[in-house]
Symmetry: C2
Subunit: 156 residues, 2 copies
């Protein structure tokens, strides 16, 4: 994807296309290995030191809010634990961050073709949406749940 396309993508969501923001977005689109904020900062800042650490975090947050980027494999900063009883799937609420158990049902593994030489141990489903608490509020007060997760940005 070329520079103009990225600029458009950003501006379509109401974000200014600053050099810092452009570089972060561009880096993410060029690297499919799910880099961390620290990795992005290190790589980009080395090539062009016009990007600070705080701005890396700020921009990642903006891009996630804008839906151009997503955060994977973690919801909130702290690890969460689960006494391993029966196998089950998980539901994570977009609004309040709650993680709930969903009864197990087997899911189809990808084709051997898609997996290559990888060895599969388990296949679990992460379902995202609104929990029973939050679903009714969908069209009314969609504000965060008073405390815990999903920190939204006010910027200053």
């Amino acid at each position: 994807m070329d520079a103009a396309a990225i600029r458009e993508k950003l501006e379509a969501t109401g974000l200014r296309c600053t050099p810092q923001r452009y570089t972060v977005m561009s880096f993410l689109m060029a690297h499919h290995d799910h880099p961390t904020a620290a990795e992005i900062f290190a790589a980009v800042n080395t090539a062009d030191p016009r990007l600070s650490r705080a701005t890396t975090y700020n921009n990642l947050r903006d891009l996630v809010e804008a839906g151009l980027v997503r955060e994977v494999a973690t919801e909130g900063r702290a690890a969460r634990y689960d006494a391993t009883g029966e196998q089950h799937h998980h539901f994570i609420c977009d609004r309040c961050g709650k993680m709930e158990d969903i009864p197990w049902h087997p899911v189809p593994s990808p084709t051997a073709n898609a997996l290559g030489k990888r060895v599969v141990r388990e296949c679990e489903l992460i379902i995202r949406g609104l929990c029973t608490q939050c679903a009714p509020h969908r069209r009314t007060t969609p504000k965060p749940p008073t405390s815990k997760p999903s920190n939204h940005r006010s910027h200053n």
Copy 2:
């Protein structure tokens, strides 16, 4: 599950059933809301202050290693980012922690019955096992990948 059963569970894996460890395990088995280490510490320590913060973390690590407990929704401490292109699933390597994209294929959503009033937005698969790099080593040098994730405990 009664006290004796928990004690047996622990001792079957070679772990002593100390008051601290028993309480952590028992708490986890009684609470299905995926508590964090901090939450477990706060709850248990308030009821009976014989549990320290370090021991909470030590015991959670021991229980995870023993397979009695699992850590969910995070692999490593830092958030990882993904420019949202096409929808895809993820493969996470048990050995080196690498997170790789797996081509999308639709997965069956749980029954409406299992979901209740929850509103589903997306359904993604987390596949765990050994990546192509790590799979060949399965029966040979199974040592960790030099750095990054999967910290194992030596205890002292």
